[in-house]
Each structure stands twice: as structure tokens, then as C-alpha cells.
């Protein structure tokens, strides 16, 4: 029986090439999109689930509540919280902490290697987390100061084929490290991918106990391992009293309160990491679009299937006469739709392989085709496909199988005109999705263009930013800058503690009239900073160059003055480790991404840590290449062999929005696919409408109707559908885009034009398709269509 169904299905598939093609391409693209979305979701949910103790590991995060500032949640805290928890909480089996990972310049055999993400941790790191050691002893390799364990790839980079164990490498800060272990690189789905882990004790061997105390530096991540029968909740219940006795009671007087809570290890990536919000948005938006694509494909399938039913009716009738029960017909059509979907799934496999590079660019990962072929993904994809077979196949099968054979055999069923048919509703839905997606695409592009073009309040063109590295360079930056300025083509240069790309650090300050410190962004910059970045001064004056007189003076931005409600901030005072007088106000500039409003800012010319980290060199554009090599020469004469690390400010700014531009590309691409699928559906329906109306067209023509009149007659219905679709699509698109824009502090206007454009675009293209076929049918000699009747 099944064989019989399969034969009919296959022969039908091959005979009706256009319809098979429309359906298969729609389903294949839909399945492909779903596979990628599933993989994306699965991959992101699988972060750090490979650790043996993953279910019992939690990261300690602390919400800082400081009077006058917004609450601030961060897992980066002072170091003693871990040991104290182990002592006070019976639920805790073990803990580990590490200093947040940073890049380090490691020197071996006089070669300098810039190694990203080097952390300082304790041996317990390897007790909590599953790290596979290739050589060295995980329980002792970080026991003494100046020891380091390296990942396999890092060890390979530095030592090649040499055995790294026991070798000495030195770091920029003149510390020497003995390599005591080599471990396998962490898998891609880990938040704990360190290229090197140096012993925690190194950091503090020369420092007195203070920095290790509760009021020490906020630079440490703490993870705890709960005992097998313990619960997160019972630990968290004790946190308030724990935090009170250890830290809050001392800080209460200055209006600071810390509240700790636990973050489950496996949830960190999707819930608590820096990218969690963007990740969730991406997952949501792309899931919706993938669903839409599948839906559109299903609608095409259902509509085309139903449209063809007039022809299939005869077969159904005969089969019923031959003894088929309704159930048999149902099975047959479900087999048929399943076959189509299985073929589409096969096509989707190839499509996925072809689209993999795009996916990799989007995720920033390097997945191979084999990564996609994991069991979980295959099972969920099969489930999705199975569900699709049932849902897409069921409706038309159900309807078709219900026809009475006696009626079908005698004469075909006629569609009653003027009724709101399911087909109409589905087409309206299809148009609505297409129009809404086009509107969103246009508006998303609008917004991202706006961000790209927006005046940031500082000069971002031709600015080279160099990281200062090494003691010597940081000390002698003045002479280096003087050398830079001698280069022909260099206009200006200035050192600073940060660059206006990703935001500046913040510290607690007590402005006049404030009892307690509030968190305010700060950048340490020498006087030339304003000139180099072309940031205008509104009132007051800049710092005097090379004068110690201004070492306690502050510049502030307009946002600061606004927040303090100060009409004339010059002369006002701010307290932080002494009294600082405001000498001037600079015009607001966007020093962070455009997701945030310009925040209050303090500019000092006296770096707290005594060092600047960056030098920005403003150059004239035409001499770019030769200028960079001259800059490199100057750099090298101060660098003690460290390679120059530089970026262009405008390029770095682009990188801030890289995720967004990839988002834009993917969204546009998905929207395009969805619209194409919808239009394919319209094409299919038009073909059928024309096929069915051939006789009507011929009769009308024989009676003297003009082609234009006939075209109008048939396109009238489609036009009505498109108008209805717009009524649904506009508010939906508006709602979505409003939500999406809420994430930006600076937004482009929502242009009405985009709505009109989308509606008109869909209307015109559909009309062209419809008219093309109708006119083709209408031009035919009416006798052609009539004589076969």
C-alpha cells in the first residue's frame, strides 16, 4: 500500500515541476534556517555543561547599591569572599577565585608573545572545573608564586615542539614564571577559556594584606562548589547576615551596600554574561523569523495543494470507489507531503553546508559541518521535520479526504465566490509577514546607518590609537610623544587612560553637596587630549600643560553639570582622596556606544595609578602608510622589543557595532528569503487561478471583453488581500521596531516612508507576477482554451 502511495506521490512530484520546486525550495530554506537556529540555541545553552560538577558550581555575583547611583551587578568582587564562604557555610565544599583575565606580553628566548586572556588562579580551579592536563600536576602546579600553566595551543605558540615544563618565561612586569603545566584548550562552549593561568600567589607576594581584604580591589571572580545535597537557596538565605558582618556594617556609614547571590554555572553564558542580552534578543528574533519562514513554506504548500485539489479530486473519487476509506486517503496525502518534506530536508542538508560560512561569520565561531551533525541537533531537526510533515500534510489531506466520491466523479467542485476562504486568510497572512519583515528591514537599516553616521562629538577620522606597553614607555611617554610630533604627517598626539570607544571606567566621587560618593565615569588625559580629539571647551579653561598646579583640577562634561544641576560648575569642588576644583566644562561627546545616553564624565590629568595606557596620534590622511611605519619606528625605540599594537579609532568604533551589522545582514537576508518564499506562493496561486479561469477568460474574450478588463477582474482579489495584509503588518512592524529601538539611547526617526515603500514594493511585484500570467492567458486565442472542454 505504502509503495502505491509513494509511487503516486513521486510521479506527481516529478510531473508538477514548478509546484514541487516552489514547495521544496520553501521547505528546504525553512528547514535550513531552523537547523541553524536550533544549533545556535543549543550551542549557547550548552556553555560549560561539560564540567563534571557543572550542576553544583555557582559564581558569586554582587549587587552594589550605592546611594545616588544606579545599582550595579557584577561578579567581579574583592578576594576574601570565597575563603569566608568556605569557612561560614557548611553547604560549600570548595571554592576557587581568579583575577579577571587580561592580555599579557610573555617573553621567551627574547621573543615577545602577546597572549590574550591570562588569568591568575588557585589550584582549586582545577578541582572545580574539568580541565584536562597534558603534563604537570593540576593539584600542585599553581601552589607557589611565579608558576604558570599554559593551554596546549599557547604552549605550542611559544615553545613549538620543545617541552615547556620547567621553562622560564618572563612577563612585562619583570616577573618570571616557571611553566608547571600544559592543559587542553577549553572547548568553544566555555566562558572559561584561558590561554594561561598563573598562580594566584604571584599577585600578592609583595603586597601587604590590605589589598586581599574586603575593601581591596574589585578584580576577582569567585566560584563555589556546593556539597552534593545542598541547595543554592539555603546559601543565598544566609547571604544578608554574612555580608553584613563581613563588609556591609563597615560601609553602611557611606551609603554602600553589597548583596551577594549565586549564578548557576550553566546559566552564566545565557543569563549573566556581558553578551547575554544581545544573545537573547538574537535567539528570539531569529527564532521568530525561522518560524515565519517555515510558516510561509507551509502556507505555500497548503495553498498549492488545495489549489491542485480540483485535479486530485478525480483520483480521490476513484480511490474511494475502489474501496479506499477516508483514513486511507488521509494516509496517502500525508505520505505525499512527507515525501516532499523529506526531499526538502535532504536539500536542506546541502544548503546548510553551503550556508555554514555565513553562520560562522555571524557567530564568530568556526563550526564545521560535522559540528552541525550532532545527535541532539539531528534528533531535534527530525522532530521538527516530522511535525512539519504532519501539520502541513494534515489539513489538506483532511479536507480532500472528506469529499463524497459521487460528487467528485461527476463534476469538479466549484469555489464559491465572495466567501472569506481559508486560502484568502493564509495569503493575507503571508503578505502581512512579508510586508512587516520588509518594513523592519528598512527601519533596522535606517537605525544602523544613523548610528554609523551620527556625529559623536569628537573627531574619529585618522586617529591611530597605540597601547602603551612596558615600564619604559609608560614612564617616557612625553619623549615618545615629542618624537611622534616630529613625524611629518602627524598633526597631534595625546596620552590618556582610555579611548572614547567602549566607555570609560568609573569611580566613586563626592561632588559638593553630596554626603556619599556616587559612581561617575572618569578618564585621565593630558591637556592635548581635547585638541587631538577636537572636543570643544564650553566654559573655563583646559589644564595647563606640564604644570603640577592642575594635578588636582578636574574638567567635567555638560552631562555632569546637568546631573548636578549646576549652572556654573567652574570653581565647584569634588571630593575623592582630597578636594578637586572644576576648572572647565567640555562639550558632551559619546564616549560609550550609542545604546547609552552620554553619561556624566570627569577628566583628570593626574592618573590614579600613575600611568597612561594609550597614545592617540592624529595624522593627515594622505600619508597614511609611510606615517604608520614612522610611528612604528618611534614606538620600537621605546618598546624594548614589544610589538606595536594599534587600531584606528573609527575602525574600533565600527567593531563596537559589529554584532549589529552582522545582525543587520542576517535579518535582511532572512527577510529577503521570507519575501521570496511568499512571492513564490503568490506565483503558484496565480498560475492556478489562471489555469482555472482559462475558460472564463476565453468566454469573456469571445463575448468581447478587453484584456485590461479581464486583468483587473482577477487582480482585484489579490489587491484586496494585499490591503488587508497591510492593515495587519503595519502595527505589528511598528510595535516590533519600537521595542527593538528601545535598546538605543539615540534613535533615527521611524519613517513613514518605509511603510509605504514596503507596501508598494510588495504590491507592485505581486501585481507584475499576476498580470504577466493573466495577460499571457488572455492574449491566447479563446478557441484554444474552449475547444478541449
Amino acid at each position: 500500500m505504502f509503495e502505491n502511495y509513494l509511487k503516486t506521490a513521486l510521479r506527481n512530484l516529478l510531473q508538477k515541476k514548478i509546484f514541487s520546486l516552489i514547495n521544496i525550495s520553501g521547505f528546504a530554506i525553512g528547514i535550513c534556517a531552523v537547523v541553524f537556529i536550533l544549533h545556535y540555541v543549543q550551542f549557547n545553552l550548552s556553555y560549560d555543561d561539560y564540567h563534571q560538577n557543572a550542576d553544583r558550581i555557582f559564581r558569586v555575583s554582587v549587587v552594589s547599591q550605592i546611594k545616588g547611583s544606579d545599582d550595579f551587578d557584577s561578579p567581579v568582587f574583592t578576594p576574601p569572599i570565597g575563603p569566608a564562604m568556605l569557612k561560614d557555610f557548611p553547604e560549600i565544599e570548595n571554592y576557587t577565585r581568579y583575577r579577571t583575565a587580561r592580555p599579557e606580553n610573555l617573553i621567551y628566548n627574547n621573543n615577545t608573545y602577546k597572549i590574550e586572556d591570562v588569568a591568575f588562579a588557585e589550584n582549586t580551579f582545577f578541582n572545580l572545573f574539568s580541565v584536562e592536563f597534558i603534563s604537570g600536576n593540576p593539584s600542585s602546579c599553581l601552589s607557589a608564586p611565579n608558576q604558570i600553566a599554559l593551554s596546549k595551543s599557547t604552549a605550542g605558540k611559544i615553545f613549538g615542539s620543545e617541552n615547556p615544563i620547567g621553562k622560564i618565561i618572563s612577563a612585562e612586569n619583570n616577573e618570571n614564571y616557571t611553566v608547571t603545566g600544559v592543559y587542553e584548550d577549553a572547548p568553544k562552549n566555555s566562558e572559561l577559556r584561558f590561554n594561561g593561568i598563573a598562580s594566584f600567589k604571584t599577585l600578592y607576594k609583595n603586597v601587604n594584606g590590605n589589598a586581599m581584604g574586603w575593601n581591596g580591589g574589585h578584580q576577582y571572580m569567585t566560584y563555589v562548589l556546593l556539597k552534593k545535597d545542598s541547595y543554592k537557596k539555603s546559601v543565598e538565605e544566609k547571604f544578608p547576615s554574612f555580608m553584613w558582618s563581613n563588609i556591609n556594617k563597615y560601609f553602611e556609614g557611606i551609603g554602600v551596600k553589597y548583596s551577594a547571590y549565586l549564578q548557576p554555572l550553566k546559566d552564566i553564558h545565557t543569563e549573566y554574561s556581558e553578551n547575554a542580552k544581545g544573545l537573547k534578543t538574537n535567539i528570539m528574533i531569529f527564532s521568530i523569523i525561522a518560524l515565519f519562514i517555515i510558516l510561509l513554506a507551509c502556507i505555500n504548500f497548503i495553498n498549492l495543494f488545495m489549489a491542485r485539489s480540483i485535479k486530485r479530486n478525480k483520483e480521490i473519487g476513484i480511490r474511494k470507489v475502489l474501496g479506499a476509506h477516508r483514513k486511507d486517503i488521509l494516509y496517502q496525502f500525508i505520505t505525499e507531503s512527507s515525501l516532499l518534506i523529506v526531499v526538502s530536508a535532504a536539500v536542506a542538508v546541502f544548503l546548510s553546508a553551503a550556508a555554514l560560512p555565513v553562520y560562522n561569520r555571524f557567530t564568530g565561531q568556526e563550526f564545521t559541518f560535522l559540528n552541525l551533525l550532532n545527535i541532539k541537533l539531528i534528533i531535534s531537526a527530525l522532530l521538527a521535520v516530522g511535525l512539519l510533515c504532519l501539520s502541513a500534510g494534515f489539513y489538506p489531506s483532511f479536507v480532500l479526504s472528506s469529499f463524497q466520491p459521487a460528487q467528485i466523479i461527476k463534476k469538479p467542485l466549484f469555489n464559491r465566490p465572495g466567501k472569506i476562504t481559508l486560502k484568502g486568510a493564509l495569503v493575507v497572512f503571508q503578505f502581512a509577514i512579508s510586508i512587516a519583515l520588509i518594513i523592519c528591514t528598512l527601519l533596522i537599516n535606517n537605525q544602523l546607518d544613523y548610528i554609523k553616521e551620527k556625529e559623536l562629538g569628537f573627531d574619529k577620522e585618522n586617529q591611530i590609537c597605540i597601547s602603551l606597553s612596558g615600564r619604559r614607555m609608560k614612564a617616557e611617554y612625553g619623549s615618545m610623544k615629542a618624537e611622534m610630533l616630529k613625524i611629518k604627517g602627524v598633526v597631534n598626539a595625546a596620552v590618556s587612560s582610555g579611548i572614547p570607544v567602549n566607555g570609560f571606567t568609573s569611580n566613586g566621587y563626592s561632588p559638593e553637596g553630596f554626603q556619599n560618593p556616587i559612581m561617575i565615569n572618569v578618564v585621565d588625559a593630558e591637556p592635548d587630549f581635547l585638541k587631538t580629539y577636537n572636543i570643544p571647551l564650553i566654559t573655563g579653561r583646559n589644564f595647563f600643560p606640564e604644570s603640577l598646579a592642575d594635578k588636582d583640577a578636574y574638567l567635567v562634561n555638560e552631562a555632569f553639570a546637568r546631573k548636578m544641576n549646576w549652572k556654573d560648575p567652574v570653581g565647584k569642588e569634588i571630593e575623592r582622596n582630597g578636594i578637586h576644583t572644576i576648572i572647565g566644562v567640555v562639550k558632551d561627546f559619546n564616549f560609550a556606544s550609542l545604546h547609552d545616553r552620554i553619561a556624566p564624565l570627569i577628566i583628570t590629568c593626574n592618573p590614579e595609578m600613575g600611568e597612561y595606557d594609550y597614545m592617540t596620534v592624529k595624522i593627515k590622511s594622505p600619508e597614511l602608510i609611510s606615517v604608520i611605519s614612522s610611528i612604528r619606528n618611534v614606538y620600537n625605540s621605546f618598546s624594548d622589543g614589544m610589538p606595536m599594537d594599534y587600531t584606528f579609532i573609527d575602525e574600533s568604533l565600527q567593531k563596537v557595532y559589529e554584532q549589529e551589522s552582522i545582525f543587520r545582514e542576517i535579518f535582511t537576508c532572512f527577510a529577503f528569503i521570507a519575501v521570496v518564499i511568499a512571492l513564490l506562493g503568490i506565483l503558484g496561486l496565480t498560475l492556478f487561478a489562471v489555469e482555472r479561469k482559462k475558460k472564463e477568460i476565453a468566454i469573456r474574450k469571445a463575448l468581447g471583453a478587453k484584456i485590461a478588463g479581464i486583468t483587473l477582474l482577477i487582480s482585484k482579489q489579490f489587491s484586496l488581500w494585499i490591503i488587508l495584509a497591510n492593515i495587519i503588518a503595519w502595527p505589528a512592524a511598528y510595535y516590533f521596531i519600537k521595542k527593538w529601538l528601545a535598546d538605543y539611547a539615540y534613535t533615527a526617526e521611524i519613517s513613514f516612508l518605509s511603510f509605504i515603500l514596503a507596501a508598494a514594493g510588495v504590491f507592485v511585484i505581486s501585481l507584475i507576477i499576476i498580470c504577466f500570467y493573466i495577460i499571457r492567458a488572455a492574449i491566447n486565442n479563446p478557441v484554444e482554451s474552449l475547444k478541449y472542454e
Binding site: L322, G323, H325, A406
Partner: protein, 220 residues
Amino acid sequence: MIKLINIEKYYTNKLIKTYVLRNIELEIKEGEFISVMGPSGAGKSTLLNIIGMLDTPSNGEYYFYNEPVHKMNEKKLNELHKNHIGFVFQQYHLIDELTVYENLETPLLYQKVKTDQRKGRIAEILDRFNMVAKKDLFPNQLSGGQQQLVAVARAIIGNPKLILADEPTGNLHSGQGREIMQILKKLNEDGTTIIQVTHNEENAKYGNRIIKLADGWIEK
């Protein structure tokens, strides 16, 4: 074998009943060969469809081997119809996507006949109708007469007790028509009950009883 008591069929459109069949009283015995005749629109095909269980009457009682068809559910109807009744149509109604062999196979599949038996029966009937060479052809590769031959073969392959033929020779030229009628006559002689609808006096003579329909009534 068949007993129709006061069978009526009508369609309601805007509260107006349009009758197709009225007050049909009919008894058919096993082994009869009946020709139903009458002008267009007299209700011949409707009567045939009701007897064939493809359509349900609006009123009346229908007994098939003394079983009340008018009271049966869909499943029981389907069982009865697929195991006892074969159909032949004027337009042949073969499945275009299936070959001759597969067309013949289809009713057996619905009757859930086992593979070996099925193959045997198809081979036998192909042989009997001289169509072995044509078994892998599709309907559109055959002439009208050949198609109707396949349709007849398909109708009898399940060994039905009753064959209903709706103008089986209507689309054929006289030579082919005679061939089909001969086959039906032979089947009748072998014990199969046959009811045919026809316009053709000559064909009607193959039967041993003629029922005349006019405007939904049986003419006495």
C-alpha cells in the same frame, strides 16, 4: 440481494427541494443483469451511486443481503462496498499516475489482500484480458477501449458480487463497446450480478430486465 424501499433523493437549495429520485421500490435478485434506461437527468446515475454506496439517499430503506445499509456507519459501509461491489464508468476513471498493473493492484491493496495472492490475481486477469504486454504502460498511453478494458478488469479483480456499470460503452466505438458488453455478459453467466446504466437499446438487450426511469420515478 438488493431491496430498495421508498428511496428518495433530493437537494435543498434556498428551501426548495429538487427531487432526483422519488419513491423508488426495487428488488434485485442475485444473478440478474439489469439495464437502467431513461433520458438525461432521470436519476439513473444517482440510483447507481446509491446502490453502490457512493451516495446516501435522503429517505428510504436500502437492504443489501438483508443488511440495512441506511443504518450503517461509514466504516461498515466501506467494508461492504469494497468487498462486494465493482464499478465501471463511462470515463474509465483510471488513476493517471499509476500504470495498468498498479491500477489493477489498487483495489486489492484497499482490500488488504496478501502480496502473493495479489500478484497471482493480477497475473491471471492480465492474462484473461490479453494485457500482459501493456501492464507497465500508463493510462494515457492506451486507447479508450483499452482503458475501459483495464477499468473493467479493475472492477472485477476483487471478485465482487455486484458490478455497477455507468454507461460503460458511452465513450467507445461500437466494436470496442461490443467487446466490453460480451465480457459483462460472460461475468453475469458466471454468477455476478450486474446493473448497467445505458442509453443504448442494443446494449440494454444484454440484460434480462430493463428498468425505465423518468424524472426520478420508475416507469411501470
